[in-house]
């Protein structure tokens, strides 16, 4: 099923997905989403405040992301710092925070799966593995 764009008619949150959210996560109004075009979605998002994310902000963001999850950022600091360098190099050179340990195929849908963090819990290096890691080792199963 193809993903489409949706806008909350109360607070203008934008959602990209196969169906609109039932409850708006921002304004908590029920059944508030109406379908819009990609162009409208881009305009709404593009008009928002400019945000930038330095490496340390991204590191903090993935730390927050792991809270409540069964995985954590790898305690091996040198590994993490090499990976973060790669992730930011890839964003600068190729437009997205692509995984430094895989390569873009140039197929849009496929390559979206390579944006870090990726859905690594389904990968064979993690799923069902006691000391599972994401393919690169940025995330490891919590001990």
């Amino acid at each position: 099923m193809k993903k489409r764009y949706w806008r909350c008619f109360v607070c203008n949150d934008v959602h990209y997905g196969i169906a609109p959210p039932e409850l708006c996560p921002t304004c908590k109004v029920l059944h508030a989403y109406v379908e819009i075009t990609a162009e409208e979605a881009r305009k709404i998002l593009g008009g928002g405040p400019e945000t930038t994310m330095a490496t340390e902000d991204f590191r903090a963001s993935i730390e927050r992301f792991t809270v409540g999850n069964e995985f954590q950022v790898n305690p091996a600091a040198d590994k993490v710092s090499l990976l973060l360098t790669g992730i930011f190099e890839n964003e600068k050179n190729h437009g997205f925070k692509f995984c430094p340990c895989r390569l873009r195929t140039k197929d849009w849908e496929e390559d979206l799966k390579l944006i870090c963090p990726c859905n690594f819990p389904i990968h064979e290096t993690y799923k069902g593995v006691k000391d599972g890691e994401c393919w690169c080792g940025l995330f490891v199963r919590r001990k």
Binding site: L83, G86, C101, R102, L103, T105
Partner: protein, 94 residues
């Protein structure tokens, strides 16, 4: 001697681990690898993509680095492996 290639990423920790093992292997045996970096060199990246059908089935259906490839037979192996496994694979390639 088979034409062996190692596709690697400059900021990939598994590749960083494997590169010195390749150096050691080349010192110990007549095996030679062409080392091709794929995130900072589009020509190398395109070359790796051209082997997608040979690499992907052996690498989680993706293009992952490090990938070791026999460019003649299109046999491939990927990931961080023990030295002996790397050596066995490389020597088998003939």
């Amino acid at each position: 001697m088979a034409h062996l290639v190692m596709f690697y990423g400059r900021e990939c920790p598994h590749c960083k681990k494997m590169l010195p093992l390749i150096d050691t292997l080349e010192k110990e045996t007549p095996v030679r690898f062409e080392r091709l970096e794929v995130w900072h060199d589009e020509k190398n990246a395109d070359l790796m993509r051209s082997y997608r059908e040979a690499i992907a089935p052996k690498c989680g259906h993706q293009l992952r680095v490090p990938t070791f490839l026999n460019a003649d037979t299109r046999d491939a192996m990927c990931g961080e492996v023990e030295f002996d496994k790397l050596k066995d694979w490389a020597l088998q390639q003939g």
